[in-house]
């Protein structure tokens, strides 16, 4: 079984890897690039813990093959902060205790960032539906939704 050579950009860095065509982008990020921020909670696109953005589009990295990402721009949770300055969402998640165990947090942050880029003023309902593909089993979502909406408000005020 031959492997494919893939060149891509992850969080602004040019990277290359060899992958079996059956390996998902998530497999490649975690096992080949050591970027273990994206998590595998289900492998079927139902939990969102592996959320990343590819060419600006929010996707489940378990539902994309590594070979498909040649030449693409990939953003993961590891790229959300600007150096040592946390993204406002990251800061708010800590302040609001919007995480308990934290396994869903990377995916939720990537998804929430994508929401706020598209819709800077989401309603609670819009926020909840946007994040419906990100399962959290610990929090009941209450503090997550509050953190996202409050971040949106702060970002609006700041701009």
């Amino acid at each position: 079984m031959s492997k494919f050579h893939v060149s891509t950009t992850v969080n602004g860095d040019s990277v290359e890897y060899l992958c079996d065509p059956r390996e998902t982008l998530l497999d490649c990020l975690r096992d080949k690039l050591n970027l273990t921020g994206a998590k595998e909670g289900c492998g079927t696109g139902d939990c969102g813990a592996c959320s990343v953005s590819v060419d600006g589009r929010l996707v489940c990295s378990c539902l994309m093959l590594g070979v498909e990402t040649d030449g693409k721009q990939i953003e993961t949770v590891e790229g959300i902060a600007d150096g040592d300055v946390l993204h406002p969402l990251q800061q708010k998640f800590i302040e609001h205790a919007a995480l308990q165990c934290g396994i869903c947090t990377p995916g939720i942050l990537v998804a929430a960032k994508s929401l706020l880029e598209k819709n800077p003023n989401p309603t609670e309902e819009e926020t909840r539906y946007w994040l419906a593909g990100n399962l959290c089993r610990c929090t009941g979502y209450d503090k997550i939704i509050r953190a996202v909406m409050e971040t949106a408000e702060e970002l609006r005020e700041a701009s």
């Binding site: 079996d20 696109g45 589009r57 929010l58 489940c60 378990c62 498909e68 998804a111 539906y129």
Partner: protein
């Protein structure tokens, strides 16, 4: 597993025609990858069609009809405001599939060719009278959407054939469509029942209608009796009751982990009424 990313549909067709074992085309991959990962289907040949020029385009044709590229995602369709104005039912049906993340990948064509009777976009496409271009070793042919699935996981496409474009008819005047599905949660479920309604009004009277049911039979159904029940009516209570009865009567569902026969049969009628009311309101230019 061999992986190919051909540059044209002809090349894709030739690759598939010459392949041995199991062949799958990869568009959004939201079904193919799940089946691969769960070892339900491990293709010997995987043909990625996303490198073909124009596959992500959503084109408004001069005659008012639409051509949707086979790799255009649900998210791209939802973001296309004119398409949504013409065919809100089709766009919403597509948008109901999976999460925001899945929307970033999933396609109409993939949803159709996966062959699931519960595919959300298919009843909406059938009601809308959508056709697809099928490219194969002997050239292209135009096929109505309802002709593609032949049973759970099965399609009428033969070896070497693939869908290369989706055509949505011109909306025209005084028309409206809607799709509703029932799921136990608010998101992330497979339809237990789905209903697509597309109609055209003459004044307040329904002049033309197509009603389609999903998840209540081995394939998505186009139910003529449902259309008959409302054509000629102003969608009064009697017509809606007749519609519901016709929808329930058309059901041939199974009991499974997602719903019972009794539930699906009953709810098909309920959703048919609700979807017809929305389509009717849209045809009248009202918000719904």
């Amino acid at each position: 597993m061999d992986y190919h990313s051909p540059a044209s549909f002809a090349e894709a067709s030739a690759l598939a025609a010459n392949a041995t074992g199991i062949t799958r085309f990869l568009a959004g991959g939201t079904d193919v990858l799940v089946q691969l990962r769960s070892e339900l289907v491990t293709p010997d040949t995987l043909i990625d069609i996303k490198k073909i020029d124009g596959v992500s385009d959503i084109i408004s044709n001069a005659d008012g009809s639409w051509t949707i590229g086979v790799a255009a995602t649900g998210a791209e369709m939802s973001e296309h405001s004119e398409l949504g104005r013409d065919w809100p039912g089709v766009v919403e049906a597509m948008d109901l599939i999976g999460s925001t993340q899945v929307q970033g990948r999933a396609t109409l064509t993939g949803n159709l060719c996966n062959g699931s009777p519960a595919a959300d976009s298919v009843p909406a496409m059938v009601a809308a009278g959508v056709t697809v271009t099928v490219t194969g070793p002997s050239g292209d042919r135009e096929v109505a959407v309802e002709e593609i699935p032949t049973g759970p996981g099965k399609t009428s496409l033969s070896k070497g054939e693939l869908v290369s474009a989706v055509h949505i008819p011109a909306r025209g005047e005084d028309g409206g469509d809607a799709y509703l599905r029932f799921i136990p949660r608010t998101e992330m479920d497979i339809a237990v029942v789905g209903v697509g309604v597309n109609l055209r009004l003459d004044g307040d009277t329904v002049a033309e209608a197509r009603v389609s049911l999903g998840a209540v039979a081995p394939t998505v159904l186009l139910v003529e009796d449902c259309a008959k029940a409302i054509i000629g009516s102003t969608l009064d209570d009697a017509a809606l009751d007749a519609l519901a009865a016709a929808a329930s009567a058309a059901c041939n569902p199974i009991d499974d982990k997602r719903g019972t026969i009794a539930f699906r049969t009953e709810v098909a009628g309920v959703l048919a009424k609700r979807a017809a009311k929305i389509a009717y309101a849209r045809a009248k230019g009202e918000q719904a």
